[in-house]
C-alpha cells in the first residue's frame, strides 16, 4: 500500500461522521485503514463485517484532511472498495451495478428515461412550497425517505447547441468546455443554463459536447473498477476534441473524480478541470464583471420565498455550504464567498461548524441512508440558525439533501446551486 503509514493516533475519529453515528471503532477511519491494509497484505480474510466497514465510509475526505501524518484514508478505503470488486452479488448489489455500470454511462437512454419520468411527474400538481413535487415525495417514501429531484422536461443537450457563442455585442475572450455531469446535464439544468449564460455574457464560447458521459464516480464509489475505467477513457477521448481549454464542472463529486481520481488515461483532462464558480470568480477579479441588482429578484423568482424585495440595504442573506469533495481544495470555498460577497444584493453568512458533511454528496445517501438523514437534518438546522434566506452549494447532491431536510423542518430557507445565484 502506497503512502505514509497510519500511526493509530485516532485523530480521524474526531471528524468521521460514520464513526460518530455508529460509535464503534470498526466503523471509523483508523480501523478501515488498518483492515484494508491487512486484507491487501493477505493477513485478513475479508468477511461480511469488512464489507460493512468499507461500505459505511461516506467518502467525505474529513479523515484525509485532518491526518497529521498525511495518510489519505479516503483513498485507501476507495481503493479497498475497488479491490473488493463486485463482492457478493445480492439483489441490491446487482441493482447498484446495473445503475452505475449500465444505465448511467448510456447518456441517450438516460435522457429518454428522464424525459418520460418528467412527463409523469408533471401530471401531478406542484407542491406550493418549492422544488419537490408530490410524485417524488411519494416515491421518496418508497425509497426510504430520500427525496427525488424535480426532473427537467428537456436535457441541456436538447436546449442548447454543442457550441454556444457569446452575443454579438460582447468581445470574445476565450473558449471553455462544460462537463455537465449527469445531474446538471439531464436532471436539473437550471444551474447549467445560468452558467452558460454567465459565460456568454463574459465573452466565452462554451462547448457542450454531446458525447460526454458520467464521470464514473458512482461506479468508482461503489467499487466497480471496469466501469470507472471505461468512463475515464471515454471522457478523456471526448474532451480531447476540445484541447487546450479549461473544462468547467458544476458538481464537487465530478470535480474530485475528474481532477484527482482519473489515472493515466485521463491525466490530460484532469489537468484542465476547474470548478465553474471558481472560474467565474477568477474572471471577474481579473476583468471586473459584477452583476447589477437584478430586476428579477432572485429569491422570489427562483425559490418563491421572501416576499419583501431584495435591495442593497436589505440584501439576500446567503449561507455557503462547502461540499465535502472540495475539502482538499480550500481555495474553492474562499473564491465562492468572495464572488458572492462582491454582489451588493447578497450578504454572506457562515454556517456553524463549517465543512460539516450534509450526507448528500456522492452516493452516500444511497449507501448509508440513516447517517445521511442524521447529517442532513443537522445541517438544515444549522441553515435555519444562521438566518439565511438561501444556502448554496456547488454540488447538486448537497442541494437536494439540504432542500429535502429544510422542507421536512418546514423552514423558509431553501437551497440552490451556487451558479443559480452567480449566474444572475
Amino acid at each position: 500500500m502506497k503512502g505514509p503509514t497510519c500511526e493509530y493516533c485516532g485523530r480521524c475519529l474526531s471528524v468521521c461522521p460514520s464513526y460518530k453515528h455508529h460509535l464503534v471503532e470498526t466503523f471509523g477511519p483508523r480501523a478501515r485503514i488498518d483492515l484494508a491494509r491487512a486484507v491487501a497484505a493477505g493477513e485478513l480474510e475479508p468477511g461480511l463485517r469488512y464489507h460493512d466497514a468499507i461500505k459505511s465510509c461516506l467518502q467525505c475526505l474529513a479523515c484525509t484532511e485532518i491526518c497529521g501524518k498525511g495518510v489519505d484514508g479516503a483513498q485507501i478505503i476507495l481503493d479497498a472498495r475497488l479491490a473488493e470488486g463486485d463482492g457478493r452479488l445480492t439483489l441490491k448489489r446487482r441493482l447498484e451495478k446495473f445503475v452505475t455500470c449500465t444505465l448511467l454511462p448510456r447518456r441517450e437512454l438516460m435522457r429518454n428515461m428522464i424525459r418520460v419520468c418528467s412527463f409523469f411527474q408533471h401530471v401531478f400538481p406542484l407542491d406550493t412550497r418549492g422544488s419537490i413535487r408530490h410524485l417524488p415525495d411519494a416515491l421518496c417514501g418508497a425509497a426510504g425517505r430520500r427525496s427525488m429531484p424535480d426532473l427537467a422536461k428537456k436535457s441541456l443537450f436538447d436546449l442548447l447547441p454543442e457550441r454556444v457563442m457569446p452575443p454579438d455585442n460582447v468581445t470574445q475572450v476565450g473558449e471553455v468546455a462544460l462537463f455537465t455531469g449527469c445531474f446538471g446535464g439531464l436532471v436539473n439544468v437550471e444551474a447549467s443554463l445560468r452558467l452558460v449564460n454567465a459565460l456568454s455574457l463574459r465573452g466565452y464560447t462554451v462547448f457542450i459536447l454531446r458525447a460526454q458521459s458520467c464521470c464514473g464516480a458512482p461506479a468508482q464509489l461503489s467499487g466497480f473498477k471496469e466501469a470507472f475505467e471505461k468512463a475515464q477513457a471515454h471522457n478523456a477521448e471526448v474532451f480531447a476534441s476540445c484541447p487546450d481549454m479549461p473544462v468547467l464542472t458544476l458538481c464537487a463529486t465530478c470535480h474530485r473524480t475528474l481532477s484527482r481520481e482519473y489515472g493515466a488515461a485521463g491525466r490530460e483532462l484532469a489537468g484542465r478541470i476547474v470548478d465553474a464558480a471558481v472560474f467565474l470568480q477568477r474572471h471577474d477579479e481579473r476583468r471586473g464583471f459584477i452583476g447589477a441588482l437584478p430586476e428579477n429578484l432572485p429569491a422570489a423568482a427562483l425559490l418563491r420565498l421572501r416576499e419583501r424585495p431584495v435591495t442593497a440595504a436589505d440584501p439576500l442573506v446567503v449561507a455557503v455550504h462547502d461540499p465535502c469533495h472540495f475539502r482538499l481544495d480550500p481555495h474553492v470555498g474562499r473564491a465562492v464567498r468572495r464572488e458572492l460577497a462582491a454582489r451588493p444584493w447578497i450578504r454572506v453568512v457562515e454556517l456553524k461548524d463549517p465543512g460539516t458533511c450534509c450526507g448528500g454528496g456522492g452516493v452516500s445517501s444511497l449507501k448509508n441512508p440513516d447517517i445521511a438523514d442524521e447529517l442532513g437534518e443537522a445541517r438544515a438546522r444549522a441553515v435555519v440558525e444562521s438566518g439565511a434566506d438561501i444556502v448554496t452549494a456547488q454540488c447538486p447532491g448537497c442541494v437536494l439533501q439540504l432542500n429535502n431536510h429544510l422542507k421536512r423542518l418546514k423552514a423558509d430557507a431553501r437551497a440552490c446551486h451556487t451558479l443559480e445565484l452567480l449566474g444572475k
Partner: protein, 458 residues
C-alpha cells in the same frame, strides 16, 4: 483464542448483538493504541452502567481478563489487551448528562469525548480546563484513567484537580458512586482521585462528575525566539519567579523550528535555536501588565525575535508554528515516538541539555518540545522501525533518557501514563514499599486480577 462459547452467549444476551463483537475484523479494530497491538478475544460495548456491571460480574466469576478502553488514544499501551480477554469499551456511553452553572459542575458518561464536554461547558460560559492534545477524540473516561494533562497544566492543573466524583463498576459488578457534587469534601479517603490515573487496574469508570470554572475574559499570546534551549529554559524559570503563571508556555527546540520553516515557510529569525509560545489569560486589565513584564524578561534574555497577538486570527498564526511543527515532523519520519517526562521547573534547562547530549551520544534524531511551565518535556524520537541499528538506537535513547530523568529527580511520566511502555521503570522510581502498597490496593479492588492484567506486575 476465543471466549468459551457459553460466556460469549451470556455476554451477547447481556449486551445485545450491537454491544457484543467477536468477528475477526472487530477484534483487530480494538487491538491497538499508539504504542502496542494485541488482539482481544471479544469486545463489549455497554450502553448503560447496568450492562457494564453485568459484564464485569460475569468476567470476574469466570476469571476473564477485562481491558477498559475509551477511544484507544493512549501513547503508552495502557488499554492494549496483552493477555487477550475482553475489551470493555465505553464509546456508546457518550452523553453529557448535566451542566450546572450554579453548582459549577458537569456530569458526563465515561465515553463522552472531552472536547464535547468542553463545548457543553462553554455554551454556558464555563470552562473545563484540562486540555490534552487529544481532547477532540479522547474520552473523559480515558482522561480520568490516565489523569490526562495538556498544555495548560501549570496554571489549571490536570484531570485529577477537577474530579468531584465518579461512578465506578468494580470487578465484582458492584456499582459504586464515589465522591459527590460538593466543591469541598473531606469525608473518608478520596477514592475518586485514587481511581484517577489508575489506568484501568482497579475498576471500570462509567460516569464522571467534574468541576467547572468561569471562562477567562481574555487571552494574550506571544512567540519569542532565543539562541538555544537552555536560554529559553531560563526564561521559563524567570517568568514563573515573577509570580506570573501563563496558561500556555510551550517550548520548541531549534530542529522543530527549522522543520516548521522548511515545511510551512513560516520565517524563523536568524540565530534562533529555540522558541517559547507564551499565553496569559484572565481579566483584560491584568494581562497588559503581565505581557509587558514577560516582554521585558525575554529582552533581558536576549530574545532574537518576538511577536505578539491580541486577535484570534493573530493567535492562530502564532500557534501555527507549534501545531504545524508536530505535523511536519510526523510527515518527515517513518515513525515518531513522543516520550514523556517531567522535572521540577528549575531543572528544565538541565533536562533539555541532557536530552541533547544523549541524542548525540546514541546517534538518535530527537526533537524536544515541552509544556515548560510545569516542567513537562516531550522528546520526540524520529526513526525508521525495522532497521536494526535505528531500532537499537531508539531503545538505547529511551532507556538512557528515562534513567537520566530519574537521576535528576524527575518523573518517568508527566501525563502519558505507564502502560506497557514504562512498566519496567516504575519500580525504579517508586521503590519497593510504594509498589507493595499499590499491589495491595489492586488486590483489594480486584482479588482475581482480571483488571487490565499484564501491565503492573502483581
Amino acid at each position: 483464542m476465543s471466549l468459551p462459547s457459553d460466556i460469549a452467549a451470556e455476554l451477547k444476551k447481556i449486551l445485545g448483538p450491537e454491544g457484543f463483537l467477536d468477528s475477526e475484523e472487530d477484534l483487530r479494530s480494538f487491538a491497538y493504541d499508539l504504542f502496542a497491538t494485541h488482539r482481544p478475544d471479544a469486545v463489549a460495548l455497554p450502553a448503560t452502567v447496568e450492562e457494564a456491571s453485568a459484564v464485569m460480574r460475569l468476567c470476574n466469576q469466570r476469571h476473564i481478563p477485562v481491558y477498559p478502553r475509551g477511544s484507544g488514544t493512549s501513547l503508552a499501551g495502557s488499554p492494549v489487551p496483552v493477555l487477550g480477554g475482553l475489551v470493555l469499551c465505553s464509546s456508546r456511553m457518550n452523553k453529557v448528562l448535566e451542566v450546572s452553572v450554579t453548582d459549577r459542575l458537569a456530569r458526563v458518561q465515561a465515553g463522552c469525548v472531552t472536547g464535547n464536554l468542553q463545548k457543553a461547558a462553554a455554551e454556558k460560559g464555563l470552562m473545563y480546563p484540562p486540555n490534552p492534545t487529544s481532547c477532540l477524540y479522547s474520552t473523559i473516561g480515558g482522561n480520568v484513567a490516565t489523569n490526562a494533562g495538556g498544555a495548560s497544566g501549570a496554571k489549571y492543573g490536570v484531570t485529577r484537580d477537577y474530579l468531584l466524583g465518579l461512578t465506578a463498576v468494580l470487578p465484582g459488578g458492584e456499582i459504586v458512586h464515589m465522591g459527590n457534587r460538593c466543591q469541598k469534601d473531606v469525608t473518608g479517603f478520596d477514592l475518586p482521585r485514587l481511581l484517577c490515573g489508575s489506568e484501568g487496574l482497579l475498576a471500570f469508570i462509567a460516569e464522571v462528575t467534574v468541576k467547572l470554572i468561569p471562562m477567562p475574559e481574555s487571552i494574550r499570546t506571544a512567540l519569542a525566539y532565543f539562541s538555544d534551549v537552555t536560554e529559553a529554559g531560563s526564561v521559563v524559570a524567570d517568568i514563573v519567579s515573577h509570580r506570573i503563571l501563563p496558561c500556555t508556555l510551550e517550548l520548541m527546540d531549534g530542529v522543530f523550528l527549522r522543520t516548521v520553516a522548511e515545511v510551512y515557510g513560516v520565517p524563523c529569525p536568524e540565530g534562533a535555536g529555540a522558541a517559547l509560545l507564551i499565553e496569559v489569560d484572565g481579566p483584560d486589565m491584568v494581562l497588559e501588565g503581565q505581557m509587558k513584564t514577560i516582554e521585558a524578561i525575554c529582552e533581558q534574555h536576549k530574545a532574537v525575535g518576538m511577536e505578539s497577538a491580541t486577535t484570534e486570527e493573530e493567535r492562530d498564526t502564532l500557534w501555527k508554528a507549534r501545531r504545524g511543527g508536530t505535523a511536519a515532523l510526523v510527515r518527515k519520519a517513518d515513525r515518531l515516538v513522543t516520550l514523556d517526562y517531567a522535572v521540577p521547573v528549575s531543572l528544565l534547562p538541565r533536562a533539555l541539555k541532557i536530552m541533547e547530549k544523549l541524542a548525540e551520544e546514541h546517534k538518535c534524531n530527537v526533537v524536544t518540545i515541552a509544556h515548560a511551565a510545569d516542567g513537562n518535556l516531550h522528546p520526540m524520537v524520529l526513526y525508521s522501525p525495522g532497521k536494526p541499528e535505528e531500532d537499537a538506537a531508539y531503545e538505547a535513547f529511551c532507556d538512557a533518557s528515562t534513567r537520566a530523568i530519574l537521576e535528576l529527580g524527575g518523573t518517568i511520566s508527566g501525563e502519558h501514563g505507564i502502560g506497557l511502555e514504562k512498566k519496567a521503570y516504575m519500580p525504579m522510581q517508586l521503590g519497593d514499599e510504594q509498589m507493595r502498597i499499590m499491589r495491595g490496593i489492586c488486590r483489594l479492588f480486584d482479588p482475581y486480577g482480571i483488571m487490565n492484567p499484564g501491565k503492573l506486575e502483581r
